[in-house]
């Protein structure tokens, strides 16, 4: 829009001197430019990078501070914040709280990332298939999605988790098997719209196969939508994982996750409130950043918003 008006202005004789050719920005360049001005989104990105770095470096940091997530020290339990040797205190078994938070972050974030990408993969594949082929395939997939989403998701989730007592890998699979439906709906309706466009007809005329059209022509056209979707699903997966752990049906102790640390801390909240407060704060902060990022990305990719 902007580039066009500039060109028209340039055609007027009095402006001819000023005219300089500026190529219009690609979708990604424009998004990057918008994000670089969007302070809340930038803040969210920085916070998330810091959290991720701390989680990935958990072993290094723990070594450097000589703390360990699983060493028990019953004479030194319920240590306060800033205790000597334990910057964030210790829990009911005298295990170092900082170290457990770091390792817990590794697992909570790891589960969220793995499940988000897996369910995105399932969702894109099924959604592209349904939207591209339409007809009976589409009808039956949509029937299945509607059915699955009509069961209160937490009921289904705690039912499966309670019966299976999952380890991290199992939990990732459970979360993705139940979490792909939103992406499928999104991708399906997009694919339905895109498949009628000229470039798809052109690709078909050039002899491209259906699979090639689906995954090299249609799906790349919704990258921006998918990135936004990924950001929101990362946030909600962290919430879901913590809710499962709170109910006691998530990852079992001693493996720390933010959710089960919070759940474990509830019993000792009077004695050591920081055991409840800190994991909850980290969950809230992480989810908050993912949702902010999702909002920011959606605005950044929105072609309807003028710069």
């Amino acid at each position: 829009m902007k580039a066009k008006s500039r060109n028209i202005r340039a055609l007027a004789p009095e402006n001819r001197e000023e005219y300089e050719f500026t190529p219009s920005l690609t979708m990604w360049q424009r998004a990057l430019k918008r994000i670089s001005r969007d302070r809340p989104t930038l803040g969210a990105i920085v916070t998330l990078l810091i959290l991720a770095a701390f989680s990935i470096l958990a072993p290094v940091i723990s070594d450097a501070l000589q703390i360990d997530p699983n060493t028990q020290d019953l004479r030194n339990n319920y240590a306060e914040l800033f205790a000597i040797g334990h910057p964030l205190g210790t829990d009911e078994l005298g295990r170092d709280h900082l170290s457990r938070l770091l390792y817990g972050g590794q697992i909570s974030l790891g589960i969220a990332f793995a499940a988000a990408f897996l369910s995105l993969g399932i969702g894109v594949a099924v959604g592209a298939f349904a939207g591209f082929y339409g007809g009976i395939a589409d009808d039956s997939i949509i029937w299945f999605v509607t059915t699955l989403t009509s069961i209160p998701s937490l009921f289904l989730l705690i039912l499966i988790s309670a019966l299976l007592s999952p380890r991290p890998t199992t939990l990732v699979i459970i979360l993705s098997i139940l979490g792909w439906t939103g992406t499928t709906r999104l991708v399906r309706s997009e694919a339905y719209a895109i498949r009628e466009q000229e470039f798809v007809i052109a690709a078909r005329a050039l002899g491209a196969s259906n699979l090639r059209i689906m995954f090299l022509h249609i799906v790349p056209n919704m990258f921006s939508l998918l990135i936004v979707d990924l950001s929101f699903s990362l946030g909600s997966l962290i919430l879901t994982e913590s809710a499962l752990s709170f109910l006691g049906f998530g990852i079992r102790a001693p493996t720390p996750t933010w959710g089960n640390m919070l759940n474990g801390g509830l019993d000792y909240a009077r004695r050591a409130p920081h055991l409840v407060f800190l994991p909850g704060l980290l969950i809230t902060l992480t989810v908050f950043c993912f949702f902010l990022l999702g909002d920011g990305l959606r605005d950044a990719f929105d072609p309807k918003i003028a710069d």
């Binding site: 509607t146 937490l154 009921f155 705690i158 039912l159 919070l262 407060f277 908050f288």
Partner: protein, 354 residues
């Protein structure tokens, strides 16, 4: 309209059918067969094991088991005295006729009756949550749209994202600590109060015989659970409301209303607000769905004696008939919510074709 409602109800049948298949498949996928769970004795003989399996009906193929669970087995012959021959009509009526079996934990109780006793509590809690969530959210959303780009709008957007990011159980627990421990102690230090919790920390009413008193005598029991549960709703609704309100602002009828000199207040709240609500009815169904699922969490924190807590207890004691009944009834309620939301949408938005 009636035709639309009827068709929408008919459409729910295949969905419900699918739900029973999914739920039953999950029940069968559970590792460990019911026979070894019931008979822990390792010395149990092979022929006795087979007899038990026949008695429980778990040796039949999947579709027979599913049919028996769904519509009962009083139409087919079963082996009642376990001699290997089919000799009597079954006595199981199936879930379609309200027979979910009998609870393992509460011996001889019908799961449906157990749920019926607790359904009122869940509906009571969630009605208040929904009312507070929608009214609060709509109000904040409209104001944010009216003051778009100003301080209030920016603060609201941050609040809205934060509101959906806080885990409900954490918020609930923080509220319990605040009103149960921190605030009373603080007030006691200033000579106010006795240091006892300011608000009840859980439950639906004081533990008295003969059930709970009428609702207006125990409203204070609702304050904490409703606040904890409604925050996410307020945040979510305010986001939707702001978006649809901003869509409405650019419509022609709004410009006309301003142009003919109507006071801004009346344009915003009589013309804008009413039209912005219509698209929101779409979100009502998913909101109800979310509340039913979330009731497990909120009822667990505040020991609210509803269906969520029943399901939680049933999961801990592996009370399969009650688990199945809760999930199926929860889904029926959720589908009801989705249909209600569709019907409201059709009523509010005349452009919807029936």
């Amino acid at each position: 309209m009636q035709e639309y409602i009827l068709r929408r109800l008919l459409q729910a049948i295949p969905t419900l059918f699918g739900i029973t298949i999914i739920v039953y498949a999950i029940m069968l996928l559970v590792p460990g067969d019911p026979v070894s769970l019931l008979a822990f004795d390792p010395k149990i003989r092979q022929d006795e094991r087979e007899r038990l399996a026949r008695q429980l009906g778990v040796s039949d193929p999947f579709y027979i088991q599913y049919l028996r669970w769904l519509i009962g087995d009083d139409w087919m012959m079963v082996d009642s005295n376990l001699d290997g021959e089919l000799d009597a009509w079954g006595d199981n009526y199936g879930i379609l006729r309200g027979d979910f079996g009998t609870s393992f934990k509460f011996r001889g109780s019908n799961p449906l009756e157990l749920i019926g006793e607790r359904l009122g509590a869940t509906i009571e809690l969630n009605t208040f949550v929904l009312l507070l969530g929608t009214s609060g959210g709509l109000m904040i959303g409209v104001l944010a749209a009216v003051y778009r780009g100003r301080m209030f709008d920016r603060a609201t957007r941050m609040f809205a994202v934060l509101g959906i990011s806080i885990p409900t159980f954490w918020l609930g627990f923080m509220l319990i600590i605040l009103f149960g421990i921190v605030l009373p102690r603080f007030l006691e230090g200033y000579g106010v109060g006795s240091g006892r919790p300011i608000l009840p920390m859980g439950g639906r009413c004081p533990p008295v015989r003969g059930g709970c008193p009428p609702i207006y005598e125990r409203l204070h029991y609702l304050i904490l659970p409703v606040s904890a549960s409604a925050l996410g709703g307020i945040a979510g609704w305010s986001r939707f409301m702001r978006a649809t309100m901003l869509d409405t602002i650019n419509s022609d009828f709004m410009r006309t209303a301003f142009a003919k000199g109507l006071p801004a207040r009346s344009v915003w709240y009589r013309h804008g607000f009413r039209n912005a609500i219509a698209p929101l009815t779409v979100f009502l169904g998913p909101a109800i769905l979310g509340l039913i699922g979330g009731s497990v969490i909120i009822e667990r924190i505040f020991t609210w004696p509803g269906v969520g807590l029943l399901l939680y207890d049933a999961l801990l004691s592996r009370d399969h008939p009650v688990i199945m009944a809760s999930v199926v009834i929860g889904s029926v309620l959720a589908i009801g919510g989705l249909i209600l939301s569709d019907i409201l949408h059709a009523i509010f938005d005349p452009r919807i074709r029936y």
